[in-house]
């Protein structure tokens, strides 16, 4: 996915497709092991995403568009590449019961939709079609609808821009 199509996808405020499911406390060393942090390229990183969990999980990740997870997704290090690696693997959104705070920040700031919606997590089975609309605050799982609290305006604006740096570039443009 190019940066442009990625930005366009996030601006539409709706992301979705088949999901891959995980349990609680998925940590950043599992999402992207530290030995690969010498790269910031989304595609290079994606090749090693979830490597500690084995090739079968990695294959399923590449056919998924949404990650569905339990509590405390992304706990551990501050590595921004945990979000970048998921974007590189074609993931458009993460729906979790809860997020570790640095992962949540990194997701928003790299333009990866991250929403807390425990009811949707409880309903989703691996491979289900899951969509997320962060504008309206709605997740669907196989057509069933679940609501979540929409983002505060500041975060929504960053996500709509495709991340913190594009957001800053836009803000500067607006001032000129």
């Amino acid at each position: 996915m190019t940066a442009d199509t990625h930005a366009a996808a996030t601006r539409s405020r709706r992301a979705g497709g088949p999901c891959i499911t995980f349990g609680d406390d998925v940590n950043t060393d599992v999402i992207i092991p530290g030995r690969y942090l010498v790269s910031i390229d989304p595609v290079e990183l994606a090749a090693h995403a979830f490597e500690p969990l084995g090739e079968e999980v990695q294959r399923r990740l590449l056919s998924a568009k949404v990650v569905v997870a339990g509590r405390n997704f992304g706990c551990g290090s501050a590595r921004e590449q945990a979000a970048t690696a998921l974007l590189g693997a074609g993931i458009e959104a993460v729906v979790a019961r809860s997020f570790a705070r640095v992962f949540f920040r990194n997701a928003i700031n790299t333009g990866l939709v991250a929403v807390e919606c425990p009811d949707a997590v409880a309903a989703a089975r691996d491979g289900d079609a899951v969509s997320v609309d962060h504008g309206s605050g709605e997740v669907t799982v196989e057509g069933r609808r679940y609501e979540f609290a929409p983002y505060p305006p500041t975060l929504s604006a960053i996500l709509d821009a495709g991340g913190l740096l594009p957001y800053l570039a836009g803000a500067e443009g607006a001032q000129r």
Partner: protein, 432 residues
């Protein structure tokens, strides 16, 4: 009088210039210091894609080459080269090269972390700055880059947790054990997005080094920041490093501030604790795991490789040797700590016992040297035991105090340090 505020509310009100902040609100805050470690090159590459941007406050930028040092690949060497050149070109005075040690410890030792400050860092364990009464929190590298140019960053005002520990601890039990016990009790997300405040006579009686262990490990229950409020110990530590008390403005929480929860820990009955694979909240009292065979013991990391940590290990290893077939890797936290440990004879004691002493830095905690093969086990004094963090995905990491690490290195099995601590030696003098 206005309504009572928590430490986090006060720091963020000052740093944002706004008042009436309540938990959950999002503000633009202006941090006092922006730390980036090995991730600095990513910040620089990101800045290069923002043409025409200038640095908001070069004097607030701190860079320390700690995670992969010295470089083992030409790619890492290029990253270091990029950082050095950037620091020169932009007059970044707070730049430390591969010889300095772990960023957090280097900044604290050099008097760059002050009470009441808001500090962001490209490292989750930036919570450690609370050891000096500062609000430290981890962020991503894009956020550091954005702060380089704008001077500000969006931050959510956290709820606060109050932790009160009753002491004293038994001989052979340390602040690391208190934190492992707490993390095991509340879970890896027990303090997510919270500001953790340590209160009470026990916490105020700790050295800055011991406070650093509390604040560092708070990250492992999800904390946004952690703090031991500044006091005479803080003032004395900074004065020793040439920072006068009128150079900073401490922030204390108000009596009667609102806390989500108060957690009481009875430290008096606590025994040594061990976090078992593969999560930091998988904590057991030592008697449940004692006897497990080890291949390696690692004494290092920003959690427990400070001077007093090395001294505690040396007190047990003096006159003893590391078990046959076991590797003891000791990575002092900083060049200053290594220098002090050389001068006091601690390093000689460790070497005589059979330890491998590496250069100061993050070392094996970040998988940089000292990694494991399939099926191997390390007992580590670090703060994280996630699968594959120290080498093979089929290896295991246990976390414990430096004293437990030293006792375990002697026997080659997870061992209760109290078996090795005669009463006269247990109260190791704390220099840090």
């Amino acid at each position: 009088m206005s309504r009572p505020l928590t430490f986090a509310q006060k720091v963020l009100e000052r740093a944002s210039g706004e008042s009436g902040l309540e938990p959950g609100m999002i503000v633009d805050a202006y941090p006092d210091l922006y730390m980036s470690h090995v991730a600095s090159w990513r910040c620089i590459r990101t800045l290069e894609r923002m043409p025409g941007r200038t640095l908001f406050a070069p004097e607030r930028i701190a860079m320390v080459m700690d995670h992969l040092s010295p470089a083992q690949t030409s790619k890492t060497a290029e990253h270091h080269q990029l950082c050095r050149a950037f620091a020169r070109e932009h007059g970044i005075e707070k730049f430390w090269d591969v010889n300095a040690g772990i960023a957090h410890l280097v900044l604290m030792e050099n008097g760059h972390v002050l009470p009441g400050q808001l500090i962001i860092g490209t490292d989750s364990h930036s919570t450690i700055y609370g050891a000096l009464g500062a609000f430290g929190t981890g962020v991503g590298f894009s956020e550091i880059t954005a702060t380089w140019v704008t001077g500000k960053l969006w931050m959510k005002v956290p709820e606060s947790l109050r932790v009160e520990v009753d002491g004293p601890l038994q001989l052979g039990v340390f602040p690391k054990d208190v934190m492992l016990s707490l993390i095991g009790r509340v879970g890896a997300d027990g303090a997510t997005y919270c500001s953790v405040e340590f209160h009470g006579a026990w916490a105020q009686g700790l050295s800055v080094s011991e406070r650093a262990t509390l604040c560092n490990l708070s990250m492992e229950m999800g904390a946004k920041n952690a703090v031991v409020p500044a006091d005479e110990t803080t003032v004395a530590y900074l004065a020793e490093r040439g920072v006068a008390a009128d150079a900073y403005d401490p922030t204390w929480p108000d009596p009667g501030a609102t806390y989500r929860e108060t957690i009481q820990i009875d430290g008096r009955e606590l025994v040594p604790q061990v976090a078992c694979p593969h999560s930091v909240d998988n904590v057991r009292p030592i008697d449940e795991v004692a006897g497990s065979a080890l291949d390696q013991v690692f004494i290092g990391s920003c959690a427990n490789a400070k001077y007093d940590d090395l001294a505690q290990a040396a007190a047990i290893l003096e006159g003893r040797t590391v078990a046959s077939g076991v590797r003891l890797v000791v990575t002092p936290g900083s060049r200053q700590i290594l220098t002090d440990a050389v001068n006091s004879g601690i390093i000689a004691t460790l070497l005589e016992a059979g330890a491998l002493i590496t250069n100061p830095g993050c070392g094996a905690c970040a998988g940089d040297g000292g990694v494991m093969a399939d099926g191997e086990r390390t007992l580590s004094t670090a703060n994280r035991n996630f699968r594959g963090r120290m080498g093979s995905y089929e290896s295991e990491i246990f976390l414990a105090s430096p004293a437990t690490a030293a006792a375990s290195a002697v026997t080659g099995r997870i061992t209760d340090p109290r078996e090795f601590i005669p009463a006269s030696r247990a109260d190791v003098e704390v220099v840090a």
